[in-house]
């Protein structure tokens, strides 16, 4: 039983004339909000590594090895479940096709593990085929720690909690498991265009 607050609209319907590019229930922001469920880790490059393990030949890269992998510049719109969208963000990162290899991963799942203990789960199909990166650059600069640096996952076609900050390890699984926010009732898949915010949406 709520009473409407005269003249209150929230800012979420402000899509800045970009209706077709903004998923339902989102507003467009120019700044880059910092969301975090814990302190920002500051892992120095010489203590940083990135691993793939599980149902895959395990592999670990040091920062230098990781940075010597072929990288791509990616321009993407990103959509946070807290209702902001940011258009035309420019990233630099290593494609997950490069990190996970060319083998058929149909029916498999990826659990991303991060510094600070955060996890999120994704279908392997959604991180292959040029859809996901481990990004180390943003806007032509090194990715700042508050936005996930040294490196974060970038999966722009899903809500941004799937683009885990401070990612260090991808675990390939033959079954699905909920990650951190998914455990608390956020949607297991998180497609912003179908407004899959919570389980059951």
């Amino acid at each position: 039983m709520s009473s409407v607050s005269r003249g209150f609209r929230g800012r979420r319907r402000d899509v800045g004339g970009e209706e077709g590019r903004v998923p339902p229930g989102q507003y467009v922001t120019q700044d880059f909000p910092v969301l975090s469920a814990g302190p920002t880790p500051h892992t120095p490059h010489d203590q940083w590594s990135f691993s793939v393990e599980g149902a895959i030949t395990p592999r670990t890269w040091t920062w230098e090895e990781f940075r010597s992998l072929p990288s791509e510049t990616v321009t993407a719109d990103i959509h946070c479940v807290t209702r902001w969208s940011k258009l035309d963000t420019v990233w630099e990162g290593v494609s997950l096709d490069t990190l996970l290899g060319q083998a058929d991963r149909g029916g498999m799942f990826v659990m991303a593990h991060c510094d600070g203990g955060y996890t999120t789960n994704l279908p392997a199909q959604d991180v292959l085929g040029g859809q996901a990166w481990v990004a180390f650059g943003y806007g032509g600069q090194p990715l700042p720690p508050e936005h996930g640096g040294p490196a974060r996952l970038l999966v722009p076609h899903l809500y941004f909690w799937k683009s885990a900050k401070w990612v260090r390890r991808l675990l390939l699984l033959d079954h699905d498991m909920p990650g951190f926010w998914e455990t608390y009732g956020y949607h297991n898949y998180g497609d912003p265009w179908r407004e899959q915010r919570y389980s059951g949406d």
């Binding site: 910092v34 969301l35 469920a37 814990g38 608390y184 009732g185």
Partner: protein, 82 residues
């Protein structure tokens, strides 16, 4: 993002526990430290509210608002006493 403290969620906590909780003492299930709830680390700028132990940093409580209900996880809390 800087953490706030338990004072910032006084209303949420009161609503969940039906009592003023910022002066209660919560014991961390990970490290066993007892802290006044008003002094716990609180992260609000996230899909939910995450409350951490100021001593060891581990999660003590998580609150997620979903379709008018609040999902409450207290598994990181060993004990809470008013």
């Amino acid at each position: 993002m800087d953490a706030l403290d338990g004072n910032a969620i006084a209303g949420l906590l009161h609503n969940v526990f039906s009592s003023e909780m910022t002066t209660a003492t919560g014991t961390c299930a990970t490290c066993g430290s007892a802290s006044v709830v008003g002094e716990l680390m609180v992260y609000l700028q996230a899909p939910g509210t995450v409350v951490r132990c100021p001593v060891c940093g581990n999660i003590m409580m998580v609150f997620v608002r979903r379709k008018g209900m609040t999902c409450v996880d207290l598994t990181g809390l060993a004990h809470m006493a008013a």
